[in-house]
């Protein structure tokens, strides 16, 4: 019985993440259009696209690794989601929150992209492989300030678990974006790379790489990838809210906070052209790294 409620809770979490992620994706398309003085698609356009992709039959494949690519990607998104507390105090979605910690999560988050990279590799499309190499290189860039921010939080509160960090915020009553400001700045700058909006959209790079790693995928493959991307966006946003904004007591607050955070990379991206890969890497080793070091010093002293 307990097992059943656990599984139902997990499924509910995944559905929530899917719906929220897809809706946010649609809203971003709308916002982008309005900024560019276009009318734009309706907010539910992503659901229509997903339904269309799901309905399509796939005619060709390039081998088993390509087929496993989307499944790998989904593992990363869904399993990471299981380890991130959606609401404070567990609520409806306890899942596996207490079974893993932040460092584990960092490694789990790269599981999917690497699996996907293998799938993209087997298609033989040079654009896919170029996209993957760019993505991996960029990851080396933004992971450094991101890890610095996380390590700063860990040593400040003597815990590496997300639930532990959330409890620390509830006890002190202040959000970590105020109690560890430098860590927050470093993490937000790293987030710009993590969400891959302009100027860091070098992986997909429309008009340059023909959507990069996902080219050669259509129908159900693309549907799975799209859903995985939406869930993963939700995962990352929730993680930021949990770590820096004191988590959320109910769903409405969660949506407000995540949307506010989401607008940072989106709005920054709207006014920026694309970087070259090495510029993108070097960007993260400039100011974000500086703030990361500040965060570490701040955490070590206080």
């Amino acid at each position: 019985m307990e097992m059943l409620t656990h599984i139902l809770g997990a499924i509910a979490t995944v559905i929530l993440a899917f719906v929220v992620g897809m809706t946010y994706g649609g809203l971003v398309r709308k916002i982008t259009a309005r900024v560019q003085n276009r009318l734009g698609p309706p907010w539910y356009q992503n659901f229509i696209d997903a339904y269309k992709l799901y309905g399509k039959t796939t005619a060709i494949h390039h081998g088993w690794m390509q087929i496993m690519g989307p499944a790998f990607l989904m593992v990363s998104s869904v399993v990471t989601l299981m380890f991130i507390p959606v609401l404070n105090n567990g609520g409806w979605f306890p899942n596996l929150n207490f079974e893993g910690d932040l460092i584990f999560l960092l490694y789990l988050m790269v599981f999917g992209p690497l699996g996907m990279a293998l799938g993209a590799g087997q298609t033989g499309n040079p654009n896919s492989a170029i996209g993957v190499t760019r993505g991996l290189s960029q990851m080396v860039g933004f992971e450094i300030p991101w890890v610095m921010a996380l390590v700063a939080l860990m040593i400040q509160h003597d815990t590496t678990s997300i639930t532990g960090l959330m409890e620390a915020q509830q006890q002190s009553g202040t959000w970590m974006m105020f109690s560890s400001p430098f860590a927050f700045i470093a993490a937000v700058l790293a987030m710009l790379g993590m969400f891959r909006y302009s100027p860091f959209d070098i992986v997909g790079a429309p008009t340059e790489l023909a959507s990069g790693p996902v080219s050669e995928n259509g129908g159900k493959y693309l549907f799975t990838m799209m859903s995985s991307g939406s869930i993963f966006a939700f995962v990352k946003l929730t993680l930021y809210v949990d770590l820096f904004m004191g988590g959320a007591d109910n769903l409405v607050i969660l949506l407000l906070k995540t949307f506010a955070i989401y607008m940072i990379p989106v709005l920054y991206g709207l006014v920026s052209p694309r970087y070259r890969t090495e510029q993108s890497i070097r960007f993260f080793w400039g100011w974000p790294l500086f703030f990361g070091v500040l965060a570490l010093i701040y955490a070590a002293i206080f």
Binding site: N125, E143, S215, I281, L296
Partner: protein, 617 residues
Amino acid sequence: MEMIYLIFIIFLGGAVATYLLGKISNILRDFAFLATLIVPAVLFFTEINIGQVVNFSMAGISLQWGITSFGYIFAYIVLGLGVLAGIYAVTAMKGKENLGFFYSNYILSIMAMMGILFSRDLVSFFIFWEIMTWSSYLMVVFSGKDVQKVGIKYFIFSAVGAYAMLMAIVTTYSLTGSMMIDSLVTAYPGFDFSMQLLIPILLLIGFGVKSAMMPLHVWASGSYSHAPMAYTSVFSGALSKMGIYGMIIVMVSLVSQIPEGHWFREVIAWLGGITAVGGTLWAVAQDDAKKLLAYSSVAQLGYIIVGVGVGTPLAMLAALFMVVMHGLFKGTLFMAVGAIEKQTGTSNFTEVTGLIRKMPWTFLASLMSIIALAGIPPLGGFIGKWMLYESLVGSDHYMLVIVIFFSSTAAFLYCYKFLFGFFLGQEEPEWDHVKEAPALMVVPMIILAVGTFIFGAFPGLLLNPIDAGLQELGYASTQGRYWEMSILFNEWGDKVALQPILYAIFAVFLFFLVFVVSKNFKRTRYVTTKDISSSGEIPKEHENLTFSQNFFQPFLRAVEPLMKRQIDPLYTGFGRGMEAVFEFVRRIYTGNGQTYALYAIIFAVILLIFRSRLFGL
């Protein structure tokens, strides 16, 4: 007779027998080779007890052999990897010349490593260390290519290490009057400070050479890539760990006893960190798989050295876990490269591509090892990485943890390069003839790769002997505090439970695999890698779409300033300078009798002029 003697007699006799049988019959030679590896391994694991010692004296010096529970951990890798790589070698080396020589060297290497683990006194330790160095040197120059450049480099560094170690041993003997390792450990706190510093440094130079620690690592890339791959998997997987074995004894048993040891540890840990970053960046830049793995070995040994340097119980657990894991996955990867080289004739990423459908089992073994190398859950590499990070964060090494994180994130790059370069990408008709490697080569790889999976799911299986070994070194038991069979804890009590993670990963993976495939797979048909969308154009048969040149060029551009700092040119410059000195010295000896007469006269004149200063006359 003592079982310990029997094991070494079998090794020695087997080495000679294999060499001699090599002149008579190939099958007998192969049989003798495998028997010489397997029989002692079986004897060791069934008959030898931890703590059992034999004493004997040689030339008036009393020697002692016996295995400790700390050495037992390393014996697993030496014998396990030694046997599996031996089975692999029989098929992989088939048809090569001079195989009796190769096999007997291989056996001598394994024997020397076991001897190092058995030695309880410094004399036999040094003798076995030298046998190990010599046999591995002969393997490095086995192919006969670039002996001048690669072999000499390895030899010089090994010699420097050996002399340093010999100096430490002689100093120890003069100070304590005993050759036993134990008596060095007990007498060490009583030495004066300069000796307390000198002995560990000299020993660490010796061990640092073998474990490829910065700045003694420059021999590694050439030597690992020049030895036959069947041997390199042992060379990198097990032999380099002997350096770690010695290093742990020095760091834990000696240096920790003095208050200044703290700073010593920091220096070693940072050297390890720099080794890891440098090794990783250079691995990313390589186009040859052997070189890539060689640099990657240097980097991985760097992580282990960091763990040893930090030296908290969790860090030591991490280091020893990574020792075993590195043996498993790097052994597999070198074997995989050997298999590919045997089947295609090259190990260069820019030449061979798209082998996934031709060599699926090799791909599977490589994939699992690469996942373990990258440290991605749920395979075994993750356990070591996780423990290392937690120990660094928990012991206030904030900058070091960032350095290590940078290095292991950059490691994803060369991991992908390895898999993509060989197995993925365009399938060229040039390689259509390639077949999967023989079963006897594939099976050892798969066994090792499955090992990474088992230890990833149940790290307790491995942490149990490691814990016993650490207790031997004086640590408190860590079971229940830092680990259980499949749960890991850090210093603050935060945990990672591996069972639910494993189940979740498999459940989600299977669900979505079925989801993607169901009602879909039968309707789809396989198409070649030429049948792709390339901006609306259909690529022609002869069009080359392989992407392998300058694979990570943008990344390498970004890290260019870091890679400019190299130690190798410094050594080369030093070598050139020495050559100039020798050249000058040589010029003195002109071979002309008149010149020598002149020298004699000048010498006499100098004596006369300075006689008051020199002799007080």
